[in-house]
């Protein structure tokens, strides 16, 4: 009970913070900064407490709040933590104070408004993660858009208007489709079962024919795929990143992109399992294309931020690949990869912000030999770069390894049943690790090594604040790389539930509760391959 | 044609004449007054129906329309005053800043 209240407090703390900020007198920028940092730290402390209290042996929601909201539509205010979101909530709260501290010196214009926006987006992101009711989810989902839009639009770079409009159009387009699908889904649930509800748990029981599932998955999926972003819906991301202020980039890469993959995991796939089954080769293909495409394009970028932006596309491709592998390795790996990318991309964007504050350029060609000029900076940069390409002992390795293991396992089972395409795709994905090393190391080489050069010299190495921010991120990266077991305990039951939900046909024709596993599927194997063998039609 | 029909016809006529006045008269004040006429036409139909059906709903609506009309004039008149102060004319054709 107390913990459930605490979860609500965590979510609404940023809103209270905005009220406090708006009440603060003008011109008190330092106070505003410290206040926001304090709030975010408090929030992190509360989330950490909840994380520790989270019982990994309990399936389903914990710290749940469920109140009627719009009774006539069956809308509830329902939030809670489960294995799907607990790590992501922790990561979001973890990045909060770092984002705030990272923007201490970078933001000088409209400080109060800026931090209000940071708090607002924090509120919306946490709300999206903890929402367990589709209506509530949608409200939070849309709320996220506004502060991000303003952040890029007000504090962005030169082409910020173009970038914001592009960002907005892409995401709004996806959202509209999702809204239509949400309405259809709820109405069809009502007509088939007589329940009017937006609760995820009820919607998981909906029974839809395959063609309808396909259309709805396409609508949901488009919205999520734009957020991820998957190739070919990705072109908003590099522009948004380049124009966004550092804090915006960090939030965008760190958390916002995970909304897409989280959406697939929590909604897209479990709601429409049969359509997921039908689309799996296509999704897998797109995921692999994202991995390769993002990596290749990152290779030829000249703007530091764009390199990291395209690398994000590549890394999120792994997450999608893990999810569609539909076995525990892939799913768990996907979750870890999400968190890992949240840490490394956030760290890298923060570091780009730090160098930008010193040199006022993001052109890679203007830099060289920073290892000589900024030795401490370079160490952090190298660590984060290597974590990003999945070097063992870092979090990136845990994620990539498990994802690839899962994807390969699924593909191999498919191969034994006579289909070679998934195996080919999985092999290409594995070779994605080469491309990852290629662009990141080339980037690091041109950036850190060679003859020392950088505009606006001299400048100091990282100060204590910057070292603290990066030190915390790097520590988290190593913890997740060396001891991933503890966090994965918390998500394991959710991963199993996901596997079971997606593995259970819901066309309404197949007998309910049939696990759908054939003889070839091992204990951890992907059920869908076994089913593909016995034929998905009854 | 009995009483009710006559009154309904009158309300239609008043509304139409008011609308026509808004479309063809160029003086802004006259246009405002024509709008009042349209409201009066609507009021008449409401009162008529209310009378015919013996329901108070129509009367309540009429009452609300009074309030709306008052509010409308209270805002419209200052706007007109402001516009006149700007261009020194009541001619509507002088105001085309909404041109796309």
């Amino acid at each position: 009970m107390f913990d459930a209240a605490l979860l609500n407090i965590v979510v609404y703390l940023p809103l209270g913070g905005i009220a406090l900020l708006l009440a603060a007198p003008a011109g008190q920028d330092a106070f505003v900064r410290r206040l926001t940092l304090g709030l975010m730290t408090l929030q992190l402390a509360l989330v950490a407490w909840l994380y520790l209290r989270f019982d990994p042996t309990v399936a389903g929601l914990q710290f749940e709040t469920r109140l009627p909201w719009i009774a006539s539509w069956g809308v509830h205010y329902q939030i809670g933590l489960d294995g799907y979101n607990v790590l992501l909530v922790l990561m979001t709260a973890f990045l909060g104070p770092l984002v705030v501290a990272g923007a201490f010196t970078a933001i000088r214009k409209d400080v109060k408004l800026f931090y209000s926006m940071v708090l607002l987006i924090q509120f919306a992101m946490l709300g999206t993660f903890v929402a367990q009711d589709l209506f509530l989810f949608y409200v939070f989902w849309e709320t996220m858009l506004i502060p991000m839009f303003l952040m890029i639009g007000i504090w962005g770079g030169e082409r910020r208007i173009y970038a914001t409009i592009k960002f907005f159009l892409y995401t709004a387009f996806g959202s509209i489709l999702m809204l239509a699908a949400v309405i259809y889904l709820v109405l069809s649930l009502q007509s088939t079962t007589g329940i009017t509800s937006f609760a995820f748990a009820d919607l998981y029981r909906s029974q839809l024919p395959l063609d309808v599932q396909c259309i709805l998955l396409a609508a949901f999926g488009l919205s999520f795929a734009i957020k991820v972003p998957m190739v070919p819906l990705h072109t908003w991301l590099p522009d948004a990143h380049v124009e966004a202020p550092t804090a915006g980039s960090v939030i965008l890469a760190g958390v916002l992109l995970k909304m897409g993959t989280y959406g697939f995991m929590k909604l897209g796939f479990p709601l429409f399992p049969d359509a997921t089954l039908a689309f799996t080769p296509a999704i897998m293909f797109l995921a692999v294309v994202s991995i390769v495409y993002g990596a290749c394009v990152a290779l030829v970028q000249t703007d530091i931020k764009k390199i990291i932006a395209y690398s994000s596309i590549s890394h999120l491709g792994y997450v999608m690949l893990g999810l569609v592998s539909l076995n525990l390795y892939g799913i768990q790996g996907a979750v870890i990869q999400m968190v890992s990318h949240g840490l490394t991309a956030a760290g890298l964007f923060l570091m780009v912000g730090m160098i930008y504050e010193r040199c006022h350029t993001r052109e890679l060609a203007d830099y060289g030999g920073l290892a000589k000029l900024l030795p401490v900076y370079s160490v952090f940069f190298a660590i984060l770069t290597l974590a990003s390409i999945g070097l063992p002992t870092t979090s990136g390795f845990t994620g990539e390894f498990l994802v690839l293991l899962g994807a390969f396992g699924a593909a191999w089972q498919q191969y034994e049943l006579g289909s070679t395409l998934p195996l080919a795709l999985a092999s290409v994905a594995v070779s994605g690790v080469v491309l990852g090393a290629l662009y990141m190391l080339w980037f690091a080489q041109r950036f850190l090594f060679g003859a020392a050069k950088a505009p606006h010299q001299p400048f100091g190495d990282l100060d204590l604040r910057e070292r603290a921010i990066l030190g915390i991120i790097v520590a988290a990266v190593f913890v997740l790389g060396l001891f991933p077991d503890e966090p994965m305990r918390k998500t394991e039951l959710a991963a199993k539930q996901f596997q079971q939900l997606v593995g259970t046909s819901r066309t309404g024709v197949r007998a309910a509760g049939e696990p759908g596993r054939g003889p070839a599927a091992s204990e951890n194997g992907a059920p869908r391959f076994a089913r593909a063998g016995t034929g998905s039609a009854p | 044609m009995d009483k009710i029909q006559v009154l309904l016809a009158l309300s239609v006529a008043l509304f139409a004449v008011g609308l026509l006045g808004v479309v063809i008269r160029r003086n802004m004040l006259v246009m405002l007054m024509c709008m009042e006429l349209m409201l009066n036409g609507v009021n008449l139909s409401l009162v008529t129906f209310s009378h015919q059906l013996g329901s108070t709903v129509g009367a309540v609506l009429v009452f609300l329309i009074f309030v709306v009309a008052t509010a409308e004039i209270a805002i419209a008149i200052p706007i007109v005053l402001m516009l006149v102060r700007q261009k020194h004319t009541l001619d509507l054709n002088a105001f085309t800043s909404l041109k796309g």
């Binding site: - | 009483k3 006529a13 008269r25 006259v30 009378h51 805002i75 402001m82 006149v84």
Partner: protein, 175 residues
Amino acid sequence: MIESLLQHLDTLLLYVFAACALVGAVLMLVLRQPMRVAMALISTMVFLGGIYGLLGVHFIAAFQVLIYVGAVMVFMVYVIMLLEIRESAGMARYSALVVPGVVATALFVGALGYGVWHGYPALIRAAAGTRFGIHQFSISFLTEYWLHFELTSVLLVAAVVAALAVIKVSRRAHG
């Protein structure tokens, strides 16, 4: 004769008032001077008030005269008097849309009339319901429609604030 006349006096008066109201309305279209237009509108409103009285809804008749004629139109007349002196005399009376406007209005009336007369004949039959007075009106207003009633006050306050704001903005803009 006279008896029957007296018997139908209210009906007769109704027709006369209706005709006068229509004439006043049409005059609004043709008169040039805004002051005269205002007078025509006032007369139309007064006749409408008479019609309401004849229909037995006296309180609305009273409001019609009090609010429309007493408040709104007085305000209007005041503004006309304020602005008349600056008005250029050579201003055209009609816009370029006279002909299409008239045609469209005629079509509008035709369509409306046709639809109502042929589509919903039951609607326009003679009275069947019970009469009601200020008593019933007040009861239903303050019980059933109390929220709407209260909201009107909010609307009025908003209008006042808006009017003030408009004046203030124009003052600031002009110095």
